[in-house]
Symmetry: C2
Subunit: 407 residues, 2 copies
């Protein structure tokens, strides 16, 4: 008998019909003899509806009050889900974040979990209840309602699993696991049985939006066994996210090819090569609330250097406008940009011990005539920025080159 | 400077536009130098929507989980209203019932308030905040969310006013006060400046559904000064609900004519006149969840008696079926019924000291050829059941007879 925490996303609880299906799934796990804690999101569309109401009242709504409103989405789902589980003949009790004392800091709309009191849940589980806890929310030390930000239900589930020392945290979503790449681009893409936390972090931040990054970090830190599964299929083991040591020694060098279509590239040419220049360029960008992805600065020549970074394509025009002002200030020569680019990355912990991966990637792209505009690497990933028209081609040939289409 | 508790019903906060209007009204009271605690209901239609979702999951939803769901309606409104008040340049903070510790018993879906902790609200008020508290809800001693039943927001407001020793509790609704009778039936109906708690109780239970009965009882018990006002008009003092002693000595004998269209009458003829017979008849009716209004049993003749009562017209068929079974059991002669009846009542504390009221009422009805089918009286009201076709006529002539059309 194990203790399982199951998280269901907004699509999985998007209608009362789907909530009933979730209840049936929970009942099956319970019938196998397991204790189950369920963490649902709000019904899909509900959080947007609630925030829409707030925006009708105020262009800059109070974050405290926004959380009071937004947290009701999950509160409705826990009640409905507990009822549906009871209809399966089981005992069930629902709790809001405040009620189980999911203690957070007071950063409304993006609070961080500090502590969870597991006493009440343990007592209910011991009495045979399925415990249903609202994801995405908690309360600060003064009892103010807080929310964890978009996708926060994943983090709630992992934190609850950590607090309860659960045997497994299952994230149910609309895909049946983590793939070697997007199957819509490469039909030969395979579902991975396992992936390491580090790889998952790289995959997630690179656009494979299966799990919220923070929840993966959290799971890694607290050694929570995390599994991604489909809520629309009854079969399948999904993908288990493991610490590296658990992985088979025979693991492939590369686990997957991630990509991001919406990349735009900006370069400041002829920047004086002196300390503080990166901050002088990126400070104003951050002040304008623009998220920066890759950052590259090459060694300087003749006292000047070139500074490049990428942003989401939707922020390209805004970022260019900021840079035009920065240009005067730092005394740069020219600003150039390109919003018809994309990013392709090979990810895998195996590349640590296989130095040839980067050159194999570059050679493969060169053979197809694909020009590499930017390169960025970490210990377990290599990313390149290329012309967006080569995206599918690059993903397909890299997927094949690294043998990802082979079982 | 006074401390005012204001309650706004579902229609008054039925859209974000209306919530903004409520905020403007609150701001005006604040500008006059008053401290304000606001208690909104859920946006109109929202509670029904939420209960509808629950019914899709279960025909007999768990009351505990129903309260988890239903309480979110008011939680959304408090957040929106606090934001709207902030947009008026004021400080505002919202609280759920749990957060201000509206302690109730554990009777889910119709809990009763036991105690309210006023410390947090007093602190916020002292710091210049408008405090917005969710109506209709509380939490039991174990922190489970409870609701007070339909119309419970009135009770919340009165209980908060009592706990805070507020100078006045204002109930904003879609009418501008309590009238001598329904103006749609009698155009000459006048708004009352004052009415006693007892009269209000009789008026409310007789169909003038301005205030929830429980809130009026509560206000009477704790001596809360209660005022009914329109949320759609900026002028007007509404109707103040007072303890009797406050009333002018020159008060009229009758304060209003109340009526109920949906009355159905049932009579058990030839019932053995022995102890326990009323229970044997009404016990099965109560078991069938049918609410009984008037009950009349006349003195027995020759060892048998006739037993009559009225129910809401929608329950008539069900009640008749129950009585057919009861008939065998108690050995009654016959069951007769009529669902084309209505009830008309004259209400006024003045009739205590004016014994001629009943006969004046009966004479007036007789002069118009209206047959009285049943009579029931209390200290401050006289009710008659008559054929429904005479409803408007009876209300109009009684309104005139008792001088209610005169200022």
């Amino acid at each position: 008998m194990a203790l399982i925490v199951q998280k269901y996303g907004g699509t999985s609880v998007g209608s009362t019909e789907r909530i009933k299906n979730v209840a049936k799934r929970v009942a099956r796990w319970k019938a196998m003899g397991h204790d189950v804690v369920v963490v649902p999101s709000a019904m899909s569309g509900e959080t947007n509806r609630l925030i829409g109401l707030a925006k009708e009242i105020s262009a800059t709504p109070s974050p405290r009050e926004l959380d009071v409103i937004a947290s009701t989405g999950e509160q409705v789902t826990i009640g409905l889900l507990a009822m549906a589980i009871q209809e399966e003949g089981l005992k069930a009790k629902s709790y809001t974040g405040s009620q189980v004392r999911v203690l957070t800091d007071s950063t409304f709309t993006k609070a961080r979990i500090l502590q969870i009191d597991d006493e009440r849940m343990r007592k209910d589980l011991a009495e045979g209840n399925v415990v249903v806890v609202a994801g995405f929310q908690g309360a600060d030390e003064n009892g103010n309602i807080t929310t964890l930000g978009r996708g926060g239900s994943d983090t709630s589930a992992v934190a609850l699993a950590a607090a309860l020392k659960a045997d497994e945290c299952q994230i149910y979503t609309d895909v049946d696991g983590v793939y070697t790449t997007d199957p819509r681009v490469v039909p030969e893409a395979r579902k991975l049985d396992t992936i390491t936390f580090e790889e998952m972090l790289e995959m997630a931040s690179l656009g494979s939006k299966v799990l919220q990054i923070r929840s993966v970090e959290f799971a890694g830190k607290y050694k929570v066994k995390l599994r991604v599964l489909s809520s629309f299929q009854d079969e399948g083991e999904g993908t288990l996210i493991t610490v590296e040591d658990d992985k088979n020694m025979e693991q492939p060098i590369i686990s997957g090819i991630a990509f991001n279509r919406d990349e735009a590239k900006l370069t400041v040419l002829g920047v004086p090569d002196r300390p503080g220049i990166a901050y002088q360029i990126l400070g104003p960008i951050a002040d304008a609330n623009i998220d920066v992805d890759m950052i590259i600065q090459n060694v300087g020549v003749d006292g000047t250097t070139d500074f490049s970074f990428t942003v989401n394509r939707s922020e390209y025009t805004k970022a260019m406008a900021v840079l035009e002002q920065v240009k005067q200030h730092v005394g740069a020569r020219e600003i150039v940009g390109d919003n018809k680019t994309c990013k392709v990355s090979a990810v895998g912990v195996g590349m640590r011990s296989h130095p040839g991966v980067a050159s194999q990637m570059f050679r493969t792209l060169a053979e197809e005539g694909i020009n590499i505009q930017m390169i960025s690497t970490s210990e377990i990933k290599i990313s390149v920025v290329i012309d967006e028209k080569y995206l599918e081609l690059a993903v397909r040939i890299l997927h094949k080159t690294f043998g990802l289409d082979q079982a």
